[in-house]
């Protein structure tokens, strides 16, 4: 069984926020909630890098560990999901999560928390797959349709990869090897030299 993971390639992410928009559109998330966000470090200076972040579906998930009603569960594919019918809106998962994934729509005065909402890896919730109830509470269940998360599918530079951990790790490894480091990153070998090809000789004969 595949272990679903997210991977964001900081060399490729261009902070277009396409993943954020794709997620909102696909899942019709509650107002004020962003299941995914893009954070830029060293913004505007040399060395700027952007990273797209959402629920990482941890193996030892802190949200699951601290939930007082034990409303979280893990699917066979390693996706961390929760049951909104059980959630009491205490905010503990929001405290514990390293990635800031759990969020709460405000349901009353003084910041009263509603049911927690977070990225589902586009895998819905405990309701029947692709049912109306499931969509209303958790959004799209693309995994049940044989598709991968909308954010990663939509990524314009394929910086964000989502899927079987082994597969995306291979993709990333190949990419890193081809990309290499140093001058190769910027395409010097492509532009200035392919040593295994014979040197192109200057055309002979008199110029016309």
């Amino acid at each position: 069984m595949a272990r679903m993971k997210f991977l964001c390639d900081a060399e490729r992410c261009i902070e277009c926020n396409g993943c954020v928009t794709a997620c909102k559109q696909e899942n019709e998330v509650p107002w004020g909630v962003n299941r995914r966000r893009v954070v830029t470090l060293n913004d505007g200076v040399s060395g700027e890098k952007s990273i797209s972040v959402a629920c990482m579906h941890c193996s030892d998930a802190p949200c699951m560990a601290v939930c007082p009603v034990d409303c979280f569960y893990r699917t066979e594919e390693g996706v961390v999901l929760h049951d909104k019918d059980m959630c009491i809106g205490c905010g503990y998962c929001f405290y514990a999560c390293p990635f800031g994934a759990p969020q709460f729509p405000q349901t009353g005065a003084f910041g009263m928390r509603g049911k927690m909402d977070k990225c589902t890896f586009c895998a819905g919730g405990p309701e029947m797959d692709n049912s109306k109830e499931e969509f209303a509470k958790y959004g799209s269940n693309r995994l049940a349709q044989g598709k991968l998360p909308a954010c990663a599918e939509m990524c314009s530079t394929k910086a964000l990869l989502g899927g079987d951990g082994n597969v995306i790790a291979d993709i990333f490894r190949d990419r890193a090897l081809k990309r290499g480091k140093g001058a190769e990153v910027w395409g010097w070998s492509t532009a200035y030299g392919k040593p295994d090809k014979p040197q192109q000789e200057a055309p002979k004969g008199a110029k016309s």
């Binding site: 954020v20 966000r37 954070v39 470090l41 060395g47 890098k49 560990a65 800031g100 140093g182």
Partner: protein, 351 residues
């Protein structure tokens, strides 16, 4: 293994000796690689500084507006998780159990604190209606908070396996809502209670004597005290005021998350709140014991407002003498000397 280690040690010792030979340039270069911009000058494609930054809770830029949305990874959550799920739940839970067991053992060994002389049948007013309302408003809201708080902390381990997810989540939702709404009521009732009772809880010199003699609880001696004894005064200052202030302040931080307080502040408040709350519950358990089955006539005093004169003389001698001598008024405000006049006709109390 030992040989390997000594080899490693020699290697590092060697390095330490050799490094200065390269002079300050290599060192300065390493220092200059702290930022991504500097690092990629020397090692293009090496993003270590970026990942270090991502891990360090530094806030970056994000188009997603909100509290701490620019933080990629925060570490405090894991510390809080280890504290809350570990020692706080484990030792806190056992301490509460231990306290209840200790009270049970004390009751079995010592039994209730009774009266030494037979009751006179003459009743004296101990608490006014307002004082009793102030006490019970605080006591009832405290019990609601204690039960709901214990449910939220230990219910997952004790109730959930027994009553199942559906019923427990309903109970936990109720607990959370009650806790959040009764909390501010509790705070208000503490303020009213403290203002009303602070005068009679002011420390006096004879409180020390009472403390030294342990209130005569074990010896059976009748130790004189004011309206409230030193034990009650310590509970008033340390419990009602001290733990009340700590648990209310930390509770408000979590109850009103709409002031943009960050996660680490709320987690710190949670740890303080749970520790103060458990301590409060354990201390209150002793007070509830001594105010009900532990002391004959104590519960009736706070329920009906009246105690027998023997009870007043044995539990609050100085107060009783002051009231009888007319030096101070009765709790409801009637002149104290009138007590002896009305005492012949004790009020009929409906039980």
């Amino acid at each position: 293994m030992r040989a390997n280690l000594s080899g490693v040690r020699h290697f590092f010792l060697g390095l330490m000796l050799i490094l200065p030979l390269f002079g300050g340039t290599a060192w300065a270069q390493a220092q200059g690689q702290d930022t991504q911009a500097q690092r990629q000058q020397v090692q293009p494609g090496n993003n270590a500084p970026t990942w270090r930054k991502a891990r360090s809770s530094v806030e970056g830029y994000t188009a997603t507006k909100g509290r701490e949305t620019g933080v990629l990874i925060q570490s405090e959550g894991e510390t809080w998780r280890q504290l809350r799920n570990g020692p706080i739940t484990r030792y806190g839970g056992w301490l509460v159990v231990l306290m209840l067991v200790a009270i049970g053992v004390f009751y079995a060994a010592r039994g209730p604190i009774g009266l030494h002389s037979p009751p006179t049948g003459k009743m004296i007013e101990r608490f006014s209606a307002f004082e009793r309302i102030a006490h019970w408003a605080m006591a009832i809201s405290f019990c609601v908070l204690a039960v709901s708080g214990l449910t939220l902390l230990f219910g997952k381990h004790i109730l959930l396996p027994v009553i199942g997810h559906t019923l427990f989540s309903w109970l936990a939702e109720l607990s959370k809502t009650m806790h959040n709404f009764v909390g501010p009521i509790f705070l208000f009732s503490i303020v009213v209670f403290v203002l009303k009772y602070i005068g009679d809880n002011w420390p006096r010199a004879y409180d020390l004597t009472w403390l030294v003699k342990g209130g005569g609880v074990l010896t059976g001696e009748v130790v004189p005290s004011g309206r409230f004894n030193a034990g009650e005064k310590i509970w008033f200052w340390g419990g009602v005021i001290g733990l009340g202030a700590v648990s209310c302040a930390s509770g408000l931080v979590m109850n009103f998350p709409n002031f943009d307080q960050t996660r680490d502040v709320m987690m710190l408040a949670n740890v303080v709140h749970v520790i103060a709350g458990l301590w409060y519950i354990m201390w209150a358990a002793t007070h509830i014991y001594l105010g009900t089955v532990g002391t004959t006539g104590a519960y009736e005093a706070m329920r009906d407002g009246y105690v027998d004169e023997t009870w007043a003389r044995e539990h609050a001698q100085y107060w009783y003498e002051d009231v009888k001598a007319g030096r101070r008024a009765l709790p409801s405000g009637e002149p104290g000397a009138a007590a002896s006049a009305t005492a012949t006709a004790p009020p009929q109390v409906q039980h």
